[in-house]
């Protein structure tokens, strides 16, 4: 019988394979960027909630972890959307 931990493990493996499928079938651009950003958020939060068991843990620690897993994908989307503007902002000369 498949328990709770096994279900979470299967979901994480499944989501990993979904990401690879998208990349290997030639998807690129917005669709791939949004898929990757969503998968990072979903998978990381599965690890936080179920592997680390943070659902019932200190809220401040949990929020810092969640912030990390959300800010990075958001930055990926911003870079995809406004790459030229960010390039100018981050140019030294």
């Amino acid at each position: 019988m498949i328990g709770h931990a096994e279900r979470i493990w299967l979901i994480l493996i499944g989501l990993t394979l979904v990401g690879i499928f998208f990349a290997e079938t030639g998807h690129a651009g917005w669709l791939l960027t949004m898929t990757v950003a969503t998968l990072i958020i979903v998978k990381s939060n599965f690890v936080i909630d179920y592997y680390m068991d943070m659902r019932s843990a200190n809220k401040r620690i949990r929020n810092i972890l969640r912030f990390f897993t959300i800010i990075i994908p958001v930055l990926v989307i911003l870079v995809h959307a406004w790459g030229d503007e960010i390039r100018q902002l981050t140019s030294v000369f």
């Binding site: 931990a5 990349a23 990757v36 690890v47 936080i48 843990a57 800010i71 870079v79």
Partner: protein, 210 residues
């Protein structure tokens, strides 16, 4: 995070017996102990800046980052992801076992987690060899420079995590942890899961995003 910080977190005097933990408001529970979280937040901050470097390099060299993943071995990255996720699952089972005072089962799950974790440097070794044979070294372009810097930094943190797991496996086998005090195992596990989370970002950055 230094090995001293990690090891002191695993044998910290902050270890609170489970009876005492029930007196702490439930939502204030700290998995492991405070020391390990200081280390974890340092690691997260370090990788936050490294991911910033990746993104800035990407906007300045979009072509290199668009074609870069084509020369990397996707199956190697995929295998590392599966190894780390499965190793993390083993640590969940190890904690569940020690909560039920099943010490032997807990030790076995931790050893399995270690063995799967050791698969990471082995896969990385073959991947880097393959890369070098195909001209993909750190000087092959900006994408590969960032790739080597980020993945090898992550590998160093995985080594600390593995040393932590070996330590808690030994302690569990010696009967130091039980259902009343397992914060050391939990501390090693949350650090191990943090390396999982960081890899879940690294993997699509270098092997999937185009």
């Amino acid at each position: 995070m230094s090995i001293n910080t990690l090891s002191s977190s695993l044998i910290s005097n902050e270890s609170i017996p489970i009876e005492d933990k029930t007196e702490i408001p439930f939502e204030d529970r700290i998995p492991g102990n405070r020391g390990i979280w200081v280390g974890i937040f340092c690691v997260l901050l370090e990788f936050f800046f490294l991911f910033g470097v990746y993104l800035v390099a990407k906007v300045h060299h979009p072509e290199a980052f668009s074609t870069g993943p084509d020369k990397l071995v996707t199956i190697a990255g995929t295998t590392i992801t599966l190894l780390l996720l499965t190793s993390g699952y083993c640590m969940v089972k190890a904690i569940n076992a020690i909560k039920d005072d099943q010490r032997t089962a807990s030790v076995r799950w931790i050893i399995l987690a270690i063995l799967l974790g050791l698969g990471y440097p082995i896969v990385k070794y073959f991947e880097i060899n393959w890369n070098i044979e195909h001209g993909v070294d750190a000087e092959a372009g900006i994408f590969y420079t960032v790739y080597y810097y980020l993945t090898l930094t992550h590998l160093v943190h995985v080594f600390w995590g593995l040393l932590g797991l070996i330590f808690v496996a030994t302690c569990t086998n010696m009967g130091i942890y039980s259902s009343k005090n397992y914060s050391g195992i939990e501390a090693a596990a949350v650090y191990w899961h943090t390396t999982d989370i960081i890899w879940l970002v690294i993997f699509p950055f270098f092997y999937i995003l185009r």
